[in-house]
Symmetry: C2
Subunit: 527 residues, 2 copies
């Protein structure tokens, strides 16, 4: 049952007076449940409980944390149809997508559980003493990763499950040993509360300290701002717009004690189509990209919003084929009237720029909150000179840039802002011929794709999801995959510490049987 | 020969009109060579050359980068006596220290050379494709670390070699594949130029691209500010004061494209002396700490500036013994009149606080620029209430806080700012009895020492040098040891990339023979 209340630790709480509802974009109407925003006192209490929970939670064994993470996955599945129905009613997304995203969410939780249970992720490193070394003895030094402290997570509007309440950021932070406070996304507050209730149930079942998790409702920016400025908060995870992410980054940097913010923000995910590939596979490519651009109404951070090619018959044919294919696709519902409003505004802003030509537009006769997909094209020179055209239009929109030659293409790629992904569509021989372009693209992106589409972010250790600013606020970390835990931990060294008092990961006997760097050699052996 | 000029890439350049000299604190006089500050044009050119050098340098093999790093070490040694004499004349530090620090510098360069030659540091990770997976095929994904781009390094006044021109930050950044621009420290500009000449010679001998290294003279803040704000600069390393480090962090965070700043800043390095240990080993401890506090005139970032104990006969005796021991130590020369001026000012500010008692002071009759070591003591309550007493007094100064009980001691530890190190002096049984204090201290520090002194920072993989703010601006990284390379790199994923076009580290045949994570298993095998 959805109560509309906050979870302040284990306790349902609704002390505030400000309320809001979620919206069903398919029915074009407000949902009925009223959500109560968290008050300043509730925020303080959530942070205090998280701070109190930290010493105990951060010291738990990997096995205990794995129990918790697996129990969260179980409890999410136990929400069953109620979760799926609530998800759909708050996002306009189809049931298949809800089920798929739930699978991804549960899969992420279980893969972090496996990681902490195995235990080698703490990067244990041991350098034993050399008491007889001259001129000074070498001390015994042992290093491992420990959690930073309470983490605040801002969920994404476009992933109500996998990048929200119990999504990648939360799973990684809990795996690290950090208590988590979620600033619930107002567009899917009911989905958020259900998932929060699953986490709270799992915490009770596995005997986690109260405060290990809180879920705060909020329709505006105040709750988020208070959390990021709160001295008890030690790190922030965010998925959303550049404006939102940058605002949080600025707040966190200006604190007396600055804290890390990992914000995964916008991206136009440039796709470079090289001439031979355009010639040989133009038609297939056009169909593939028509699907990728419109997938999930274009509401993916990896949506291909910028296609770059060299002017000529092959590119002209590709544009024609893409236009023909994309208008045949049925429009789909966007997440919220605000999202479709922003889509139409941003598209209008782009389209009104001088030199831009609309080559495909679904046209009229579309249901409320359904997005009309659009493709535009522009000359390379115009694109280079007008950075408005470089901005993301979040939704099923893409611009095809027709460069006059290879040099102009390279120049455009080198001048792009940081991106989550970059794609090269090429015949294998062309990769060598255009190696400067490949190299320039590599310097702007977190993930480089060959002959594919950027949509579809595999969850696996080799995935990098993040990239140079503004794709993310710190390109040195990933938001997806088990290595995303590194955002929430720091190394600590123990010098000459008695073996019995060391954490298990660093003890001589290696009771966890983990892989460690011992005197520069990777080994699972005991000392 | 020292020219007083800048190295703008390979070229000695002195276009500016602003000049300055270094100072010999032992002789209490200016040195004769005049250094010419870098101009805006020279700064721009250095960044441009670094940007141009980046694509080539970042793509070099580990073997080639190792040649460069080892050649730098060789060329530094070849500077021989001139380097040692210049070092001493610009720092007032004794020859033994200069030789020791040169050894550390050369050792760091060689250990990074070994790391990049071996090659596994890039954390290669491979997840092979599952083309038949349903509902969607799994792509082939391969991830590794790549360099961020041009890095600016600000050297430390107190380590003219090991944390300056070719110190830890530079060695790590070059190992990563990042071109480096050093903002030369004005107090040891001659030492800096000599080391820069060694790097430039090594770059020429090993055929590195022009711009892989530049060295810019500067006596004020302008050159540093310009560098940190420059769009071509992608990361910053700094060692020095909290004020300086925070200013650079703020500048970097406020850029249109924010960049990471790793600043290793101040620390008082709290030492907790537990009652049994004070009772049993008080006298030995007093001697050990008298030496640690005065080592190198207290000019170490790990200098123990805060000793915490529980009021009683044992602590009273310890204070008496420490005071007796420390005044017997001969004062030594500080780095510069500005440093000793700041020492005397900060000490005066501390000593003038109400409730503070001076228990040891070397007194009069000290040579110019030689520091008079001082020990003070204060009640726990006074310390808790007056955060001025928590501030670092850079130099041979320490304050002994007498807590009324265990609770007050825990309260003080929990309220400390972030620290590079924390030390527990205890009998082994006491660690359990005082486990809340140990846990509170762990949350405030980067390195936890048992029954030792914080001075002496071993260079090895298990060293963590850094800590919660303001010990450093990002506790997730270390400034010492091979893992410090992680500050200057980011992961990139290649999706479905043709094997022949992948970097060697990710190729099926594993031509580098490095350790990789392949489908979740660590292995050196080829695919």
């Amino acid at each position: 049952m959805i109560t509309g209340k906050n979870y302040i630790g284990n306790t349902l709480s609704a002390k505030g007076t400000k309320t809001y509802t979620t919206f069903n974009p398919q029915l074009n109407q407000e949902n009925s449940i009223s959500f109560v925003e968290a008050t300043t006192k509730e925020i303080d209490l959530a942070v205090q409980l998280a701070t109190n929970a930290y010493p105990q939670f951060s010291g738990l064994s990997g096995t205990r944390k794995a129990e918790f993470l697996n129990a969260i996955a179980d409890e999410i599945l136990a929400l069953d149809d109620l979760l799926i129905k609530t998800y759909c009613s708050e996002s306009g997304l189809p049931e298949g997508r809800a089920i798929g995203e739930r699978g991804r969410t549960v899969g992420q939780l279980r893969s972090f559980a496996e990681m902490v249970k195995e235990g080698s992720w703490v990067e244990a490193s041991i350098d034993t003493a050399l008491p007889d070394r001259t001129p000074v003895p070498k001390p015994d030094l042992r290093k491992m990763l420990i959690p930073l402290g309470p983490v605040v997570v801002f969920g994404a509007s476009n992933f109500p499950l996998a990048y929200s309440t119990a999504g990648g950021d939360t799973a990684a932070a809990l795996a690290a040993g950090c208590p988590v406070i979620v600033k619930s996304h107002p567009m899917h507050a009911g989905t958020g509360e259900l998932v929060a209730s699953a986490i709270i149930k799992a915490a009770a079942k596995t005997k986690m300290p109260n405060g290990v998790f809180s879920n705060l409702n909020s329709s505006g920016i105040e709750v988020g701002v208070s959390l990021v400025k709160h001295p008890g908060v030690k790190a922030v995870g965010f998925t959303g717009s550049i404006r939102g992410g940058r605002a949080l980054f600025d707040l966190a940097s200006q604190r007396k004690e600055p804290i890390p913010v990992f914000a995964e923000m916008g991206s136009v995910n440039p796709v470079v189509i090289l001439p031979e590939a355009a010639k040989k596979r133009g038609e297939t490519l056009a169909n593939t990209y028509a699907s990728s651009i419109t997938l999930g109404s274009g509401q993916f951070c990896t949506n291909p919003g910028l296609l770059l090619g060299i002017k000529g018959d092959a590119l002209t044919a590709f544009i024609k084929n893409l236009s023909d294919a994309i208008v045949k696709i049925e429009p789909s519902c966007m997440l919220h009237p605000n999202i479709i409003g922003a889509y139409e505004n941003n598209k209008q802003k782009a389209v009104s720029q001088s030199g831009l030509q609309v080559v495909a537009d679904f046209g009229a006769g579309v249901q409320s909150n359904y997005a009309r997909q659009t493709v535009t094209t522009v000359e390379g020179k115009t694109f280079l000179e007008n950075t408005t055209l470089h901005q993301e239009v979040f939704g099923p929109y893409s611009i095809v840039v027709q460069c006059k030659d290879k040099n102009q293409l390279e120049q455009i790629v080198a001048h792009l802002e940081g991106q989550l992904t970059g794609t090269i569509i090429a015949e294998e021989d062309e990769l060598k011929e255009y190696k400067e372009i490949v190299s320039a693209l590599q310097n702007r992106v977190g993930r480089l794709i060959y002959n594919g589409v950027p949509t579809g972010v595999e969850v696996c250790p080799s995935m990098q999801h993040g990239g140079p600013y503004p794709a993310s606020t710190d390109s040195r970390f990933t938001a997806v995959g088990i290595h995303s835990v590194k955002r929430w931990v720091r190394p600590i060294s123990y010098q000459d510490w008695p073996d019995s008092q060391l954490p298990d990961a660093l003890k001589n006997s290696n009771p966890l049987g983990i892989s460690r760097l011992v005197n520069n050699e990777k080994t699972n052996r005991k000392l």
